[in-house]
Amino acid sequence: MPEKPIKGEKRYFMTGNEVVAYAALAAGADIMYGYPITPQNEIMHYWTRLAPRYGKDFLQTEDELSAGFTTVGGVLAGKKSFTATAGPGNTLMQEPVSMAEAMRLPIVVVIQQRGGPSTATVIYSQQEVTMTTIGGNGEGFRIVYSTATHQELFDYTIKAFNAAWKYRFPTFVLGDGYQAKMRESLTMYDPEEKGIPIVPSEPYVGKPGVPGVDRPPGQYRNTYNVEEELYEVVENLARDFNAIAPEVAEYESLEAGRSDLVVVSHGVISRAVKEAVSELREAGASVGYFRPVTLRPLAEKELRDAANKAKAMLLVESANGQMARLIKDAAYGCKAEMIPLYKPGMGITAEEVAAKIRSILG
């Protein structure tokens, strides 16, 4: 069996779906469970092409419900398992992800957002933000990385596996159809050569010895008889999630504390925002940007700081206010006026963002 898929550092030019498959390999994933849906299909295609060469496995299931539950099963058995989906598949995936949330299991799910609601388009959107951050019949105890470039798709897919197995919360890489299908350059590397250790996995069930005698019992439950019992479990989940939030939360910003207007965006849209903001700053405009990299948990302190110092925040997204809901909730009571630029299911260009900024600043 050939050793490592990637040695040294090398520049590649490929699609985002291909990047994810390589990143999962680099992160030490053992098995992918999946069901085809555009625009994530090629993650499966490339994984199935690469997997046999490195002793990895793949199972195609009958739908996304099953793909999610088999991923949970793989995790329980000690395998680094992941799945990938989009749109209506993400909807079905919420049920197994809720189970992982209940059991504190490290499941990794890659989402390539497509248009919604329902079948809609297979192309692109940022309309799976609400579902991915706080979907399911729970409290949204999940880690969600929203990527913008192929480099980030690689970096954060690796990070997602490590975060999932370190913190044991469901972890998402939230991409989109554009990132899935476009080609651009990135540098791939072996994480361990770069000083990024891979967090090991272990089986959660079927360990040797008698539970409670030779080892502590597992207690992987998603069913409770009484309210008090559940209440205690959810309170513990909330406490643990809040405790890790500050070290998990990531953001990027430019002059967010020193500008009249701060443009907030995430994912692929932040590329257009960065371009627009830098161009207008060169022309002397008092404008900065704030980009949450993690949509869950949010970098609340830094966001609130920006929202208290700016006169206004321009919220830009390819959805009808899904990111905005998260931002407004976190920035509740802050003084900045919140101005929307929403284009659900459509890309947004730097020119459009720049025009909006000019109209606000006057």
Binding site: P39, T121, I123, Y178, K181, R183, R271, I348, T349, E351
Partner: protein, 188 residues
């Protein structure tokens, strides 16, 4: 630094616009430039107009798609209609001279409109199979996003295994690049 050059290539399925966009993007990447290429894709399995969005520059590229292109190349009548929305006052609009019945819809507002006889050159001088390579030569010369030599290197990289078996194919493809370039020389 100059902004990225924005290119739209559109044609019927089988005309090879996606291959052309991909090869140019890879050639630019090989030169160490920033390149981003994305095809259109939808639920149709066949029968749609194929559109390639290509951007090449020296800084990280912003959004993958764009509103107005610097150059639009339309290779069928349907592709002409489909790409009209990407034409602004700064756009060079290139279409194949063999496309009939589109005279009235060709955008008057474009910076420049060029009808090039690519299909005719392919059929009469070279080979219908290298039609898209002629287009590639025209795009490369019109935009100067990569050199003609680099474009040939990229073709060699892609089809080298075929050229090994049949060296005449290499000459044919390289000639197609040069002829494509000639079609727009001095016109853009």
């Amino acid at each position: 630094m100059a902004k990225a050059v924005k290119i739209i290539l559109a044609g019927e399925g089988g005309q090879g616009v996606q291959s052309v966009a991909e090869i140019i993007a890879e050639a630019a990447n090989e030169e160490g430039r920033e390149a981003l290429y994305i095809p259109n894709f939808g639920v149709e399995q066949r029968g749609g107009v194929s559109v390639a969005y290509l951007q090449i520059g020296d800084r990280p590229i912003g959004s993958p798609k764009f509103l107005k292109a610097d150059i639009v190349i339309a290779l069928s009548d349907r592709a002409v209609y489909r790409t009209l929305k990407y034409v602004g006052p700064e756009t060079v609009f290139v279409y194949d001279a063999g496309i009939k019945g589109v005279e009235d819809v060709i955008p008057k507002s474009a910076r420049k409109v060029l009808a090039i006889p690519a299909l005719q050159v392919a059929n009469e001088e070279l080979n219908p199979r290298v039609f898209n390579v002629i287009i590639m030569g025209a795009v490369v010369r019109a935009t100067e996003v990569v050199s003609q030599d680099r474009a040939k290197d990229a073709i060699e990289k892609k089809l080298g295994y075929k050229f090994e078996k049949n060296p005449e194919l290499r000459d044919l493809n390289f000639k197609a690049i040069d002829r494509g370039a000639e079609l727009v020389t001095g016109l853009v």
